[in-house]
Amino acid sequence: MSDPVTRPPLVTPPATSARRTPKETQARVALSLRRRYWSELRFRAYGLSAVLLGIVFVVFLFGTIFMKGASSFRQTYISLDVFYDPAIIDPNNTHKAEDIANADYQAIVRASLRARFPAVESRKDIRDLTRIVSGGASFDLRKRVLNTAGLVGQRETLWLLASDDVDMLMKGHIGRGTAADPGPLGENQLVWFDQLVKSNALELRFNKTFFTHGDSREPEQAGVWGAVMGSLFTLAITLVLSFPIGVAAAIYLEEFALKNRWTDLIEVNINNLAAVPSIVFGLLGLAVFIGFFGMPRSAPLVGALVLTLLTLPTIIIASRAALKGVPPSIREAALGMGASKIQMVTHHVLPLAMPGMLTGTIIGMARALGETAPLLMIGMVAFIVDVPKSVTDPATVLPVQVFLWSDSPERAFVERTSGAIIVLLGFLVVMNATAVVLRNKFERRW
């Protein structure tokens, strides 16, 4: 907006125009009109470019994340002939499950690799060779042996998890390295890599690990399932607590409370809480729930309590708007028929306002799902491998998992982080779409 003093006047002042002929005035106006139309056009261009810039941001943001993350849903596997050597798995021939469980499956992987590359002899080379297969492959083998009867002594061809460096090279995220700057893979490892690719023994397959496992220090073994379960536990309790409380508070404020200073105070307070930084809620959770009440750290239960307080204002505000949208005639009719005030609310107003309240709640839940900072405060950032089984088990949630992985130095974790973001955004899209559908389907105009 230009300064009022320097802005040229829209209409020439009468004092000077009195001395001009109409022709001169016309010429002046025509001139100023051209300038004014130009500025009109410019202003419009500013507006359009602001909108386009916003759109470019959205596209760029989603574009980079999908480009980085799409490959995390596929994972490199190595095809190997595995011999379940009884001498390794069950050397004492006991057939006991615990002996079989404790066997050295890494040795089986090593033996299969040596069978594939018989030329490899020296200790160092063998060590390098084992590194192209993930450490997780031996766990997979163990699980397979324990779950399938009669495998010991058999041979089969299996697709085993490759290490993260091989995976990154396969996907083209890292180069082969130069003499000056060798990549993570050594020279001989690159030779084996090429041989495996040539014989079709390396393949990108659907990354099941990513969706079934918890966190891990090894990128190729890390999955989002633990974080997804943590998020589900946290959100479930948040929903159970915040929806009834939020709706009840909204009903009281909208239908029962008298207009006085006290209710004004509550209203101002709720509006302010909605704008308090989320990290402050984390401080509250740390000081009150963990410090004062001694609740366990890192538990979804505590996270849910904090998120409940965080989402309550959103839900209350949305629910009040929904209640306001129900026309007074409905209330008067119910009261006129002899309903009590509570009956009027529960039988008539509440069902009519419910779609709006649900929409607000879903949006509040979506916000809670994406919330990270307050959960860092209450210790949900711990490195947790196990998938949580209850609301008091230590757990982490999806956005915190994103934060943790984004800190990891391995190249493969960049891809995992983007993959986890895609999963998170997927959940958010589903929730918001549900809210929109709900609104369009049940919204009533009175």
């Binding site: 359009l48 916003g54 943001l61 509550i266 308090v276 989320s278 990290i279 401080l283 509250l284 960049v414």
Partner: protein, 462 residues
């Protein structure tokens, strides 16, 4: 019985109470045919019985659950050897923690020290006695409540009014939670901050120019006494928020104006939700974007231009934060612009103003208070934003106005001070609460002011 099992039993008891109350009410008037002689519907008698059965018992159960541990620990410590009892508070806390671990089965009995083993045994013993007592007490309260109400049921008994009064109190209680949250925030943050200011003088915190919160672990360590001058943090926060607002306000304002005044209806219908997507993206995603895409990009551009750009520059964090705030500014501005009455625009057109002149000199001026309120809200959000700065801004407390350097912010320091293991009474931990207090007060002041302005503005045209 464990508290969880007790809860289930209590719910069952309440259901029994409902059935008994309802049947009793019907029995007083001779079954379904006499129902019109009852003051309230039979279900209200049932509900009242159930409520009186469950609610007092639940209150007792909740209070017991909250205080049981504290009380048992008090009893157990009283029986510990005198040497343990005379330990300073922090070490006593460690001992109690050990006891908890043994009780929970995290540490086996055989591995624990003898005094802890004894304490854990005593703890378990007291707890099992307490559980018996609790079970008896809760069930007794439930049954007594049920019997009392059932005894009072008669056709004239106003059950509906009684139930509704309870429901109304419950509604009031729910609306008070918001107030309690605020009080909780103020008390918890202020209490810890007061402890911090007991160790570090407040003027040193507010005006000090050096921030290095690492305190010595051992008493004889050199050069790590910790200094808590928060000015670099305030400056860093202001710098990053400033950059964010420089991005967000023009883009947000201009896109709101364009969409509200110029855009075709179809264009608006498609673009507006598209831009609002930005508001729904979790901040951790923005942080990742800032740290791994924008940061390196700016760095390489800076190198091409011969500029020194830190990889965790204030610019990258501010830029991405600005993008995040765009939809916030634009949706508020949009509200304000559409609230300006059409008559004002028509008046300007009638005087021969072009559309942009009308917008610049009439619409925006009329909407100015509302827009200022919206911008204040956006600033408060920028100051309180955490994840973007944690991931994309640095930890180094540089006092600089150069956007290419790394700065740190209040929220980053709160997170770094509090994440990980920490003891509750070191100045390092307490400093986070002092920063939290400052953050809360500043954002609160901005919010109160902004909401007040916006409310006044809305009333003006209503």
């Amino acid at each position: 019985m464990t508290p969880a099992a007790l809860l289930v039993v209590l719910v069952g008891l309440a259901l029994v109470g409902y059935v008994l109350g309802k049947s009793r009410a019907l029995a007083t008037v001779g079954g379904n045919r006499g129902i019109r002689n009852l003051h309230s519907l039979p279900s209200y008698y049932g509900a009242l019985t159930a409520l009186w059965c469950a609610v007092p018992a639940l209150v007792v159960l909740g209070a017991w659950g909250a205080f049981q541990d504290t009380i048992i620990i008090k009893l157990v410590t009283a029986h510990m050897p005198a040497a343990v009892q005379s330990l300073p508070e922090s070490q006593l806390g460690l001992v109690i923690n050990d006891v908890h671990n043994v009780v929970a089965g995290n540490v086996s009995f055989d591995n624990a020290r003898p005094e802890i083993r004894a304490a854990a045994r005593e703890y378990i013993e007291i707890r099992s006695i307490a559980r018996y007592a609790l079970t008896a007490l809760v069930l007794a309260i439930g049954i007594v409540g049920m019997v009392l109400v059932r005894g009072r049921i008669s056709p004239e008994f106003r059950a509906r009014n009684a139930v509704e009064r309870i429901v109304e109190w419950a509604l009031i209680g729910c609306s008070l939670i918001a107030v309690l949250t605020t009080i909780g925030i103020i008390l918890s943050v202020a209490f810890e901050a007061a402890r911090f200011f007991g160790k570090v003088p407040w003027y040193q915190f507010i005006f000090g120019l050096e921030w290095s919160p690492q305190t010595a672990i051992r008493a004889d360590q050199v050069g790590s006494s910790g200094s808590f001058g928060a000015v670099p943090l305030f400056a860093g926060t202001a710098l990053i928020s400033g950059i964010a607002m420089v991005i967000a306000v023009p883009i947000g304002l201009f896109s709101a104006i364009y969409l509200a005044e110029y855009a075709h209806r179809n264009f608006r219908a498609w673009t507006k939700p598209f831009l609002e997507v930005l508001a729904g993206i979790p901040t951790v995603v923005y942080g990742f974007f800032a740290a791994l895409t924008v940061g390196p990009l700016l760095r390489s551009w800076g190198e091409a231009l011969g500029l020194q750009v830190a990889s965790e520059s204030a610019l990258a964090a501010g830029l991405v934060m600005g993008i995040m705030i765009v939809p916030f500014v634009s949706s508020l501005a949009d509200d304000m612009i559409t609230a300006v009455p059409q008559a004002l625009r028509d008046g300007a057109y009638a005087l021969g103003a072009t559309k942009s002149e009308t917008i610049k000199q009439v619409v925006v001026r009329a909407a100015l208070p509302g827009i200022v309120g919206g911008v204040l809200l956006a600033i408060s959000r920028a100051i309180g934003e955490t994840m973007i700065v944690v991931m994309a801004a640095g930890l180094a407390a540089n006092l600089t106005a150069n956007p290419f350097e790394a700065v740190t912010t209040v929220t980053v320091q709160i997170v770094t001070l509090l994440v990980g293991d920490q003891e509750f009474d070191s100045p390092k931990t307490l400093a986070a609460f002092a920063l939290g207090l400052v953050l809360f007060l500043v954002t609160l002041a901005l919010n109160v002011l902004a909401l007040h302005i916006v409310k006044k503005y809305r009333e003006q045209y209503e």
